[in-house]
């Protein structure tokens, strides 16, 4: 398969297969629509993990209601034997648990797709719908299988059994994953799960579907992949990057990172503290950093806003701190469980004063790991706060990826309490920041006070205008030095031509797919994706100059002057009027076809 081929599942045929056997699917987008308490995330996760084990590509997409319990929820799994870059615009298969699931999602089915609905709950829509619709009494069959006592629980496992049967998945592997998922609980739970699963697996669905399907085996490496979500990958990256201490306050969608760190860090001899509030959390994390550790705090927009004063202290006192922002829809409480990329300018400029700090953004789940590792490294090297801007989509999305090579990506932290000599200067004008964590002896007998007041090279407070000028330059120049080391991002697609798409963060996959589709239509299109957002790499204009249009694709508002947040920065830096924006704020991931049509509209003559 050419690396530029798209993974749009257009090659699936759902017409009756020749009698010789099953229809081979290269890709399948399966959407489960139900309520949040139905456990559809569980089966989606199991399928994703199964795909990782079968060396298939996988990407998932989930919406969760922000209500405490209940409310419509979907989980979409995109399985493929080629490169899977997005969760899929349309689904090939829809499993609808309720009438509202059916009504709201039947439209997401691609023409010729298959809808399997719970005939105990759903009234089928008659009409000229181009889809194969199959009603199965999911609720009553599950209740029957469980002996009639468990009400409606277990429907998700019944459906997993159906899916295993329909796609001829490896039953042994699926059962193994189910056992691992439920085996830790009491025996009844696993037994009921298996009863429901087997009922689904044995249900005579083949007669109803007319066609048999089989997913092609992946052509990837034989080794099993790691399958997990972005927040978990971030946690592992922080652990590998040398973080041993952290503090935070719960907030969606950041909480699952702190919950995991709270449990994981003690295994590494470290500690994560749930603080009383966001202000206390960032202060504690800075206390850890001052004490000589690589520390982390994190939150989502509302909490990050509260941390801003303390983060300016981090820049002034030059303390290393990793700050994770799992972006969600804003402003204010906004859309707590929707995706948005509207905190970029806040990450760069959100504190008072001239307050430079590093800002990074991961592009997919695997990159959450690598970005976290890099953030830790940069925090130590440049001694300042380092923001990682992930988002709601990456937080909950499950992907399969190659196991990271720990021989290259593991930092073992040490506490350096060696005596500091007479020449010790924490903030030399001509060199990197030095620290003397408490506990280190100062051989000259003079101990340092770390301060948020402007200070000289020794850290002594000073309101001298010349010193403020020089120290402001110092804090700025060390990040410019970082910028000078950053390589230009590689160009995907055409190296020059008509259109360059620029993106950052979780839009990487859909942008890449959009490039492929536009090229198939005969357009000359390339894309670059920025991981380093502050500082950015130098010389981006040499890339921009090779295209007629530079379109920055972002999930934020075009603002008062018509440009999204990254586009605003790029225009300010490169003064190039051909830099324009493709923005949106509907709280949903970009669909590939949306990007394609927006690009086409923006480049019409």
């Amino acid at each position: 398969m050419s690396p530029l081929a798209t993974s749009e599942p257009s090659d699936i045929t759902l017409d009756p297969a020749p009698s010789s056997g099953a229809t081979e699917l290269q890709n399948a987008v399966i959407r489960f629509a139900g309520n949040s308490q139905d456990g559809i995330q569980t089966i989606g996760g199991l399928l994703a993990r199964l795909a990782g084990r079968s060396a298939r590509e996988v990407m998932t997409y989930m919406t969760i209601p922000s209500t405490i319990s209940g409310g419509p929820s979907i989980f979409q799994v995109h399985l493929g034997s080629g490169e899977v870059l997005s969760a899929g615009d349309e689904s090939d298969f829809l499993f609808a648990f309720y009438q509202h699931s059916y009504d709201n999602h039947i439209g997401s089915l691609r023409p010729g797709g298959v809808c399997i609905y719970d005939s105990d709950q759903v009234q089928e829509l008659k009409g000229d719908l181009d889809a194969l619709q199959v009603g199965i009494p999911i609720t009553s069959t599950t209740v029957e299988a469980l002996g009639g006592s468990s009400r409606e629980r277990g429907k998700n496992l019944f459906v997993l059994g159906l899916v295993t049967q329909i796609f001829k998945l490896d039953r042994e592997k699926v059962v193994g994953l189910v056992s691992r998922q439920f085996g830790g609980k009491n025996e009844d739970v696993l037994r009921n799960a298996m009863l429901a699963f087997d009922a689904g697996f044995a249900y005579p669905v083949g007669d109803l579907l007319r066609v048999e399907y089989e997913l092609q085996q992946g052509k990837g490496s034989a080794a099993d992949k790691v399958t997990t979500d972005g927040n978990t990958a971030m946690v592992l990256g922080l652990l590998a990057g040398g973080v041993r201490y952290g503090a935070a306050y719960p907030i969606t969608p950041w909480s699952t990172i702190m919950e995991q760190l709270r449990v994981e860090l003690p295994k590494y001899g470290g500690l994560f503290v749930q603080a009383e509030d966001e202000l206390g959390a960032v202060a504690m994390a800075l206390g850890f950093a001052y004490s000589g550790h690589t520390a982390v705090t994190g939150s989502a927009g509302p909490g990050i806003s509260l941390k801003m004063e303390a983060l300016s202290y981090g820049t002034m006192a030059e303390l290393p701190l990793v700050v994770i922002n799992v972006q969600r829809g804003g402003p204010s409480t906004g859309l707590p469980t929707s995706v948005e990329q509207s905190d970029l300018l806040q990450a760069i400029y959100g504190s008072h004063g001239d307050c430079p700090r590093i800002v990074l953004a991961p592009k997919n789940v695997a990159d959450c790991f690598y970005t976290a590792v890099e953030a830790c490294e940069l925090a130590r090297t440049y001694s300042c706060p380092v923001f990682v801007l992930t988002d709601m989509a990456l937080a909950s999305r499950i992907e399969a990826f190659e196991e990271p090579d720990l021989s290259k990506h593991l930092h073992e932290p040490t506490l350096d309490l060696a005596p500091r000599g007479e020449e010790f200067k924490p903030y030399p004008l001509d060199g990197p920041t030095r620290h003397a964590p408490p506990g280190s002896t100062m051989t000259a007998g003079t101990y340092p006070v770390v301060t948020g007041l402007e200070h000289d090279e020794w850290g002594h407070p000073s309101a001298n205008p010349g010193i403020h000028q020089k120290m402001t330059e110092r804090r700025r120049e060390k990040l410019k030095a970082l910028g000078a080391t950053l390589p230009l991002p590689e160009t995907f697609g055409d190296e020059n031509g008509e259109i360059l798409l620029v993106g950052w963060g979780s839009t990487w996959g859909p942008i890449r797919e959009a490039v492929g589709r536009l090229r198939e239509k005969g357009r000359k299109v390339g894309a670059v994706h920025l991981r380093h957002l502050n500082p950015m790499p130098n010389d981006l204009e040499t890339v921009f100059s090779k295209y007629d249009h530079v379109l920055v694709v972002e999930m934020n508002d075009e603002g008062l002057y018509g440009h999204g947040q990254l586009a605003t920065l790029l225009r300010a830096r490169h003064c190039d009027p051909k830099i324009r924006s493709i923005c949106k704020t509907d709280g949903l991931n970009y669909r590939v076809r949306d990007i394609v049509s927006r690009v086409e509209a923006a480049t019409e003559n």
Partner: protein
């Protein structure tokens, strides 16, 4: 030159003295600083293990005047910062300093939580009942009727009762002293430092510029009364029953309810596990459960479980 056999040089007040304080002449905080030096000298805490942390305010400039590892942090957040230092560095002696605005107003929430968590550190509040650094605004401890730039006709809000707040919050050592009573101040500082857990000393420390005479009622030299709390000696005498049981929370509230200037000494002291100890128990159990595995092994195992 020192030799290996030589004992470390004893810590002296001279070693601990840094810049001359920028406080106004006559400020109560000078005596607090001098007492702190003397107690450190007596306790002989290793010089490099002393860590002083403060927020913003006149008294929060304290770390600049102590020659030791110090932090001048942001307004109101000295306690969570100090919590980070204390929890991750059990080898250190962590001290937090501040005033009534920093500790009871903007940082009030952190005080409650540091207290309930019983973080192992010592917090000294220099309470002057007024905002001094910003030149005379009402503070959370300003009494009703106090005329300030923000209450020109007199403060109208009920002030915080620091001792009640501290006892309620769960601080495991709560004491009160007066900056003019140096001997007493040194005694309670020493007890606070030796107490394992979150120990707080509220020091009435006069601002001679913006609230002169605020604490004369507690100063015998100005005609006031410096009434000490008599603590139980547990000697089975009838008079002992009348004395204060420092472990009795209700008795501490009663002492805290006395009209100004009230009593001085230890209001409350209890021995309960510190957050530092409780977290360490969990860390040790977690390490044991994973067989003290290396980070590389832990991560490799984790990756394997996700396949």
């Amino acid at each position: 030159m020192s030799t290996a056999a030589e004992a470390p040089k004893p810590l002296t007040k001279k070693d601990l003295t840094a810049d001359h304080p920028t406080w106004c002449p006559g400020c109560g905080d000078f005596a607090v600083l001098a007492s702190f030096f003397k107690v450190l000298e007596k306790l002989q805490i290793p010089h490099e293990k002393i860590c002083t942390i403060a927020g913003i305010g006149c008294s929060s400039r304290f770390p600049y005047f102590v020659n030791g590892h110090g932090v001048h942090f942001i307004h109101g957040r000295a306690l969570p910062f100090a919590t980070g230092v204390s929890l991750s560095r059990p080898d250190l002696h962590v001290f937090a300093f501040g005033g009534d605005g920093d500790g009871y107003s903007i940082g009030g929430n952190h005080l409650d939580h540091a207290a309930r968590k019983n973080v192992n550190l010592t917090y000294i509040v220099m309470d002057n009942f007024v905002y001094g650094l910003t030149k005379k605004q009402t503070s959370p401890t300003s009494p009703k009727g106090f005329k300030s730039k923000t209450d020109p006709t007199g403060a109208i809000d009920q002030p915080i009762n620091p001792m009640k707040k501290l006892v309620y919050g769960g601080a495991s050592f709560v004491a009160r002293t007066h900056a003019t009573q140096v001997k007493h101040m040194m005694e309670v500082f020493e007890r606070a430092i030796l107490h394992p857990g979150f120990s707080v000393v509220e020091v009435l420390s006069e601002c001679v510029v913006f609230y002169p005479g605020a604490f004369d009622a507690g100063n015998p030299r100005k005609g006031g009364a410096f009434d000490l709390i008599e603590e139980r000696k547990w000697d089975d005498t009838p008079e002992d029953a009348e004395r204060h049981d420092v472990s009795d929370e209700n008795a501490a509230y009663q002492l805290a309810s006395l009209p100004f200037p009230g009593k001085f000494g230890v209001f409350y002291e209890t021995d309960r596990p510190t957050k530092n100890q409780l977290e360490q128990i969990w860390i040790d159990a977690s390490r044991e459960k994973v067989g003290n595995a290396s980070a590389a092994d832990l991560l490799t195992t984790r990756f394997a479980a996700m396949k």
